[in-house]
Assembly symmetry: C2
Homo-oligomer: 202 residues x 2
Amino acid sequence: MPQGQPTVVPQDGLTTRQRRNRPLVMVHTGVGKGKSTAAFGMALRAWNQGWPVGVFQFVKSAKWKVGEENALKALGATGQGGPVTWHKMGEGWSWIQRPTAEGEPSHEEKAREGWEQVKRDLAAETYEFYVLDEFAYLLHWGWVDTAEVIEVLRNRPGRQHVVITGRNAPAELCDFADLVTDMSKVKHPMDAGQKGQRGIEW
Amino acid sequence: MPQGQPTVVPQDGLTTRQRRNRPLVMVHTGVGKGKSTAAFGMALRAWNQGWPVGVFQFVKSAKWKVGEENALKALGATGQGGPVTWHKMGEGWSWIQRPTAEGEPSHEEKAREGWEQVKRDLAAETYEFYVLDEFAYLLHWGWVDTAEVIEVLRNRPGRQHVVITGRNAPAELCDFADLVTDMSKVKHPMDAGQKGQRGIEW
């Protein structure tokens, strides 16, 4: 709990309040559980502040995270907090109308289309809180250029918080980010032969 | 994502389905961010399954986690998923009626009252998903006996999942738990003199 006093006060010409309210880039990485789950948990706070929340789910299958998706959409629909928009790569991005004759794009092409939309939304300040779920994988694989992502994030206008999840987040991204948490696996039921279950894993 | 095959198939006499559906005890510990946040993120999945969710917030101040609290209560109120019950030690537990003449109980006494209620709820199978937020601290401090907690959890009836968060979770609890994740701090804005902010930290 961050009641503490910072041990360093930077010479950045900002007041404590200005510094406190700077928008953040956050990275949840590591091989343990909870990277995406904590990002969706953060989205609850953003929702409660009335911030528009945009989720970009950079995963192949649409099967996972249906619990979080249903919950965040239901919250958005209450009208008590911020609106929630959920984009899924697994079902083809909603903003893309594909002619039926065209072949299915590769996972890599879809990932790039997702990032292009994130860039457009950041430029337009569409959301105040972004979850780029599993996005770190794409950077690790080289499908999206890490240097470009850092440049876009560095120059994003206004007050937009961004959380990026996924294993193997590149060191350059972690160096750039304001907050980096590494989730380490200590023990998982799979180690004892127990497979993932409804309500717990999705 | 747990699509994988377990490398070990235990000789426990259970089918894969029976083993998969065993209720879990999960621990989120370590000094990094995301321990509670991931637990509340998991509660979204539980809610989506229609499971009654019980949150026991074992922290002194009621100021924190108001975002998660408002969000989960709003979800519970939609009636689309499971009901959500939120208990806060910081405001005095809701089930306790104190005569005004009585002195304010100590933090330690309140913590024990919280654990006694958890025991009653586990015995009554009140919830299917429990978040015992910051409970690990109480075990670490010896305010609640770890061996007793393990015994109660081991013998809990029915199908009740329990997530325990907090730094310094005792080794015996981690040995007993089905899933343990350690959240490590790699970098935090406080290190650069930036204090916690609304919508991000609470």
